[in-house]
Amino acid sequence: MFPLPIYLYVELGAFIVSVLTYRSLKGTAFRLFPLFLFFIVMVELTARYLVQVLQYHQNAWLYNISTTLEFVFYAYVFSLTLRDPTFKKMTLRFMAFYPILVLLNLSFIQGFMQFHSYTIVLGSMFMVIFCCLFFYELLLNPLEGELRKVPMFWIGTGILFFYLGDLSFDLLFNLLKNDATGRNLFQSINNNLILILYSCFIIAFLCQRSLRKSLSH
């Protein structure tokens, strides 16, 4: 199980930073991040424990649960951040219907022990759309101060790059699942995207902290 890969340390780092900056995250759209990141770290550690210690390789069900929750959680963050009522409604509907679609997919199409690539593609597309909507609102309201100091900008950037980067693999999943080179390539791309995603989260938490500090002064 040890040493852990770098991306897991970054995930752990993001969790620790979210706990340390929790006071400034309280009352914002990011208040549930510590809980969410704890869940993600636990999933990663459990998956590694299952594979490396128990030699149990059928861990797709674990990722099916965690990725579904990930999508719902990000949609929840967007629902609190987006201003346009139509966009908000879109995120709320996604939160309500996406788990049902995953359940239907796992029950009738791909099966519980298989990775739910179809609904992953759908979820990734929605995440990209939500990011675009958020950036569109940032374009319409350019008075929110410097972009690099806006916490949600970093969250949005991380999510955008992560799901854009993973989209090709998810689309080609059925072709690549038996291709070792493809899988390895995806693994290395995915690890780097995880690094970007959680680094962006860390920056966002630190931005939120300095934002709160500057507001209280």
């Binding site: 940032l138 374009l139 790059f161 980067g165 693999f169 080609l172 690549l176 291709d179 390539l185």
Partner: protein, 267 residues
């Protein structure tokens, strides 16, 4: 042994790269757009600030000019009239009745004249009187003050159906007229001053013409204090979106033209 396909790998790499590049482009565009927008806002803010500064300066200058005129008016006119009234009262001889009646009548006239002049003066005490009177009347009043000095023949012509301008625009135009008249009085050595105000639906044109000695316009391009005064007027005209033209011929006179495009005239 799993089957490996280089085409799929290439597709995966190309797809991922393209999508990531798209994301990077999106973020860069966002940054660029906001940067440009911020710069635009800053420029607009700067312009607004300099407009307000110039407006305040104009108000102060108008006030200063008004005080100067009032002081001159009190000293040269009202003071003289009241002194004469006082002299009349002091030299009254109750024993000489016909002369006494004449002096009382003269004193009454003089005091009435002083009251009339004071009332006229009080109109000019606030910068609001430009908006209250309207630009045309305010210019007429200004010309009247110049005429009363006795050194100039003045003429005011107004064409077209008058309409109100923005209060700030009127104030700045009025200040430019005052500045031009000051320059004529100080430097032009002219006998005649003509102001021509033309109201047209699309543009307001104002010409101030004198028949003075004229001047060489070349130094305006230099940074001399002479040129700075004209540049200041140019700058003021630019702030209210007006055009400013000056033409001068030696020994013939000078003409200053201010043209202000009007969107929808407020009638």
């Amino acid at each position: 042994m799993p089957k490996e396909s280089p085409e799929i790998i290439i597709t995966l790499i190309a797809g991922t790269s393209t999508l990531l590049l798209l994301g990077a482009l999106m973020i860069s565009f966002l940054f660029l757009y906001r940067k440009r927008h911020r710069r635009l806002l800053q420029e607009r803010q700067q312009l607004k600030l300099s407009y307000e500064r110039e407006l305040l300066k104009s108000q102060l200058e108008i006030q200063e000019q008004t005080f100067r005129q009032i002081s001159q008016e009190i000293h040269d006119n009202i003071g003289q009239v009241l002194s004469l009234a006082k002299l009349n009262l002091a030299t009254m001889d109750p024993s000489h009745l016909p002369n006494l009646e004449q002096k009382i009548s003269d004193s009454k006239k003089l005091v009435s004249q002083a009251i009339y002049d004071l009332r006229n003066l009080s109109h000019g005490l606030s910068t609001d009187y430009i908006t209250d009177l309207g630009l045309a009347r305010a210019i007429e009043h200004e010309l009247e003050m110049v005429r009363k000095s006795g050194d100039y023949e003045t003429l005011f012509e107004c064409d077209g159906k008058s309409y109100s301008l923005d209060k700030q625009q009127e104030l700045i135009i009025y200040r430019m007229i005052q500045e031009t008249l000051n320059n004529i009085i100080k430097h032009a050595a002219s006998q005649k001053i003509i102001i021509h105000l033309r109201y047209r639906p699309e543009e307001l044109t104002l010409s101030i013409i004198d028949n003075g000695k004229g001047f060489d316009l070349t130094p305006i391009t230099d940074n001399s204090s002479f040129g700075l005064g004209i540049k200041n007027m140019h700058n003021r005209a630019r702030l209210i979106g007006a055009g400013f033209q000056i033409s001068s011929t030696l020994e013939e006179g000078t003409s200053v033209t201010i043209s202000l495009p009007v969107g929808t005239p407020i009638t």
